[in-house]
């Protein structure tokens, strides 16, 4: 019961927001609030007519590309940290971890000033690079905990069969690591998808992600609550999908691999 009640507390605001997406303006602020009303699609028309699809695409591009980059750069590093004796390994790992822990607000200040000088503000490249700060370190750190669970025997057997070390990585390790890579990468995607501050300060008209576009719904004719609810729901969709597919890995990810989940 207690847990069910807890779940209701979690779900209820989301459901209420969902109803607002279909609520006619006239009953939006009714006191007392109304639950039953003739649903309307007018808010969807507004959202579609005001370029939010473009913001959605921008969000997808930034999140997908930055995640792909993280996987490409991060996977070999995580594997190397787990498998090979590397000098000052602990210090390096601590550096990786600290990068992840740093508050975005402290990072966005130098980023803005540097980007302003080199012309990376309001560019895809700029935002994608900035997302490496939290996602690359996160990815390496969590995938490293997956890598250490890989049985070393298989790799040794492959080596004995005459595979080079690169081949072992590609042919043996990657297939075994696939679930871990997917789980971690999906979390990276979500972090990039949700990110607000970097996108807000480093983006602009050319690169405007969905979270940053939300203030456009606070218009000179008032706040568009129905439209706000729609954008909120759309921003929530990938999160919901991921949660149901990946639930166990989330704990592991959110505790930086400290809890195996």
């Amino acid at each position: 019961m207690a847990v069910a009640a807890g779940a209701l507390v979690v779900v209820f605001p989301v459901l209420w927001m969902a109803t607002m997406a279909f609520k006619p303006e006239a009953v939006m602020f009714a006191r007392p609030p109304v639950w039953r009303f003739p649903p309307t699609l007018e808010h969807f028309d507004y959202v579609l007519a005001h370029g939010f699809l473009g913001n959605l695409v921008t969000s997808l591009v930034v999140a997908v590309v930055s995640t792909a980059l993280v996987v490409v750069i991060g996977t070999p590093a995580a594997y190397a940290f787990a498998r090979f004796p590397i000098r000052r390994r602990d210090d390096l790992l601590l550096f990786v971890l600290a990068t992840r822990m740093a508050p975005p607000v402290a990072l966005v200040i130098p980023f803005y000033l540097i980007y302003a000088r080199v012309g990376l503000l309001d560019t895809y490249l700029g935002l994608i690079l900035a997302y490496l700060t939290f996602n690359l370190s996160f990815y390496i750190w969590v995938l490293w905990s997956f890598c250490r669970e890989l049985p070393v025997e298989l790799e040794e057997a492959a080596r004995a069969d005459g595979y080079g070390r690169g081949q072992v990585l590609v042919r043996v390790v990657l297939p075994l690591l696939k679930p871990g890579i997917i789980a971690t990468a999906v979390l990276c995607f979500i972090f990039a998808w949700n990110e607000f501050l970097f996108a807000f300060m480093l983006g602009g008209k050319a690169v405007e992600t969905l979270p940053v576009a939300v203030p456009k719904l606070i218009t000179s004719q008032g706040v568009k609550w129905g439209e706000l609810a729609i954008v909120g729901l759309v921003a929530l969709l990938p999160v919901l999908a991921v949660v149901f597919v990946l639930q166990r890995h989330i704990v592991r990810g959110l505790t930086m691999g400290a809890v195996k989940g």
Binding site: Y115, A116, D122, S220, G222
Partner: protein, 467 residues
Amino acid sequence: MRARRRTPMLLGAALVVAMAMVAAPSARAWTYREAARPYAGQAITVLDEITPLQETMKTLVPEFVKETGIKVDYQLLNHFEVISRGQADMLSGRGAYDAVMLHSPQMGLLLQADVIRPIDDLLARKELTNPALDLDDLIQPAWDSLAKFRGKTYGLLNWNYNVIYWARGDLLSHQGEKAAFKQRYGYELGPARTLQQMRDLAEFFTRKKGETLAGQTLQSDFYGVVLEGIKGGTTFWTVWTAFIRNFGGDILDAEGRPTIDRPENVAAVKLWADLWKFSPPGQAEYSLIDVPTVMGSGIAAQTLAWSDFVLGIDRPGKSKFAGKFVYAGSPANARAPQTRSAETEPSMIVISRHSKRPEATYLFLQWMVDKATQQRLFQAAGGAGVPIRQSTWNLPVVKQSPFAGLYAAMQESLRYGRAKPRAPKIFEIMDVMSGLVQEIALGRKTAEQGLKEGQEKVLAICKQCTL
């Protein structure tokens, strides 16, 4: 009436003749096309604020592009973003924008950082400047107090935001309410002309659910007044110029030293905070956007609001009460009418130091304030806008506009509105003060305590605050 209307027409005819005579000696008349010839094909980026005014301007921009061949990326952002991003762009030296819209309080900081390009040299270049630009026509004291500093001119007057008094005319003219009001307060019910009357009206119209208002039983609580109350925003600007200055007070003295806790200021803030007793719950969250929305929704009797936002609400389909609103200039102080002041925010688009295309940009900015463009702007918006030129008041489209009453109110407010002093740390001061007056309004501090604390805090920010 007839004779009066003829005067501007005659004047206009005389002007045309005079201009034709002046222009006659030159080979052909000045045109934007000619002036822009060396710059055609250049692309400029201009950052402006998003309000109904600029949304209309945006529809006209293609005409300029077509005529001159200068490509204009006319970007609109909301009030806070236009300040933070515009400033960040200029201060960081990024230079993505050739020109950025500035509210007058930003001038101190940007002048001190030396990132605005003065336009005196451009104004003096005959081939670039429309001989009929008629700068004397720009509304004063708005333009001079905004754009001219130490012998230099930093821009033209592009927008002329102003706060007006806004009330529900249907309530003010209701016979029953009028009689009851007169009996209680001893004078005729009507739009408040003074801040004290505004308080009376606020008290009078605050009613609980179930009570009667203009003959109708109320389904929910009704409030006598609604004000902007959010921290930040323009809350304290309005307290400062529509209340404090009307009491003869000010937050900085002539030398720019903080004078937050002057007795005049205390009296003014007390009156303002008193109005909160008659305001909707949650007012401390209301921004300058929420206030017109609340007025439009019909739960409050009166307000002080930015007139450009009114234009978006007082329209059929936008509010049930469209057409029933009445307007007046920002109220005076009954006890000191000679120190009359109103909250206005003259704004201009300035050319960034970092712009590589100042001439093309200048042509565009000039075109924006051009008489012809201004006239087109008011036509395109159905007679709705905020004039930046004296001559605009006399345009037929303005005189016959459904907003004629609103225009009279704007004209009155603008007569008493000046740009803010050039204090580089003014946003920090506003931030501190808006928080404090909010606490005063919510009853957490007395006006004396709050302003005394404000004086200490502002002194910690700057001892001599203006340039």
